[in-house]
Subunit: 205 residues, 2 copies
């Protein structure tokens, strides 16, 4: 066992923090390893001592963010008094998560496809946690006889999450290249999602 693991971990954290700031401001492709190293007053080679390559570094930052988000969801798992509250919690938490890390996800707006496939693992993990949270809430409501039994809670939650994801802005004049919502539209989208929750939850009753 290595006695200096603490020191290593601290340095790793510092690297993650500096990288996060760069990625947040400039996105993945406009951030260079030299710049990150420069911010930390260390050599670029040292970065490669701690992380195998650039995309793994990005992934590590992403995983940290994802873990914070997952923790928020899991802390509340099973502590809801009704279904609407659970759905609201999910949507609000998600909204806050996106808003506060908006620029970090630049690469989703542009198609910076040069990212590792393992990123979809993390995305899938997040989705899994969301599904678990909501399916659990539905199950609890069924057992309390607040809503009628459903054949497959997970299927319903998946449709719900997809539906949420489809909510966009610009109803009358559709915009052409809409990959990722624009920052100033996030609140409007959030409001529409709240409306969807009202209808959807009522439909399950």
């Amino acid at each position: 066992m290595n006695a200096s693991n603490d020191q290593q971990d601290i340095k790793r954290e510092k690297i993650l923090e500096a990288s996060y700031q760069r990625f947040l401001h400039y996105g993945y492709s406009k951030t260079t390893m030299n710049e990150i190293a420069g911010d930390l007053s260390m050599s670029k080679a040292l970065l490669y001592y701690y992380f195998p390559d650039k995309s793994e570094l990005y992934m590590a930052v992403m995983r940290k963010l994802a873990n914070d988000y997952l923790k928020q969801l899991e802390d509340k798992l099973g502590h809801f008094t009704d279904l609407r509250e659970a759905f609201l919690f999910q949507v609000n938490t998600h909204h806050d998560f996106i808003v506060s890390n908006y620029n970090f996800f630049d690469f989703f707006r542009l198609n910076e496809q040069n990212l590792p496939d393992t990123i979809w693992e993390t995305v899938g993990q997040i989705r899994g946690a969301e599904i678990k949270l909501l399916a659990n809430a539905i199950q609890a409501e069924v057992e309390k006889n607040n809503i009628k039994p459903v054949a497959n809670p997970i299927e319903i939650v998946e449709v719900f999450l997809d539906a949420l994801h489809g909510i966009k802005v610009g109803g009358s004049l559709p915009h052409k290249k809409l990959n990722f919502p624009h920052k100033e539209h996030l609140d409007e989208i959030h409001n529409k999602r709240l409306l969807l929750i009202d209808i959807f939850v009522k439909g399950l009753k």
Copy 2:
């Protein structure tokens, strides 16, 4: 007044038909004016006699398709016995429309952005007709006291259409570059949409 307008219109139709076949098989950017002209055994210059440019030709084909679709919707406008029937009709008609013209919309999957802005007019027109159909159905139900009054039917329909649009496949393992659904997934998506209708319509009651 020109006596040969009929002949012109017939030729225009022939051009539209040939162009449709080409666009359907090869998409916009992989279809050349020479090829269309070749299919019709006419000179390329003649195409430019009938249509101002390539994108306007594509638009003309698109408008023809859109008109067929709009006609289907408008024929049924106001002839529904209940809300669910109206929503089902919209989703099924839309599904058939996409399936039968799938390859024509290639340029939506790839980002063939070199299309005229006026295309969004047509897209908006379609969306407008869909909204009109469904908002009308909701209003009718309200007046028959089958569902409770709603503040803004259009807002609800917009959320519904967005939600439909968000339904994708690959719940567990999200796929990276999902712009437009893959052809073999259309049926699965359609089924999920039917589930969404069940819940949504019930939520409006």
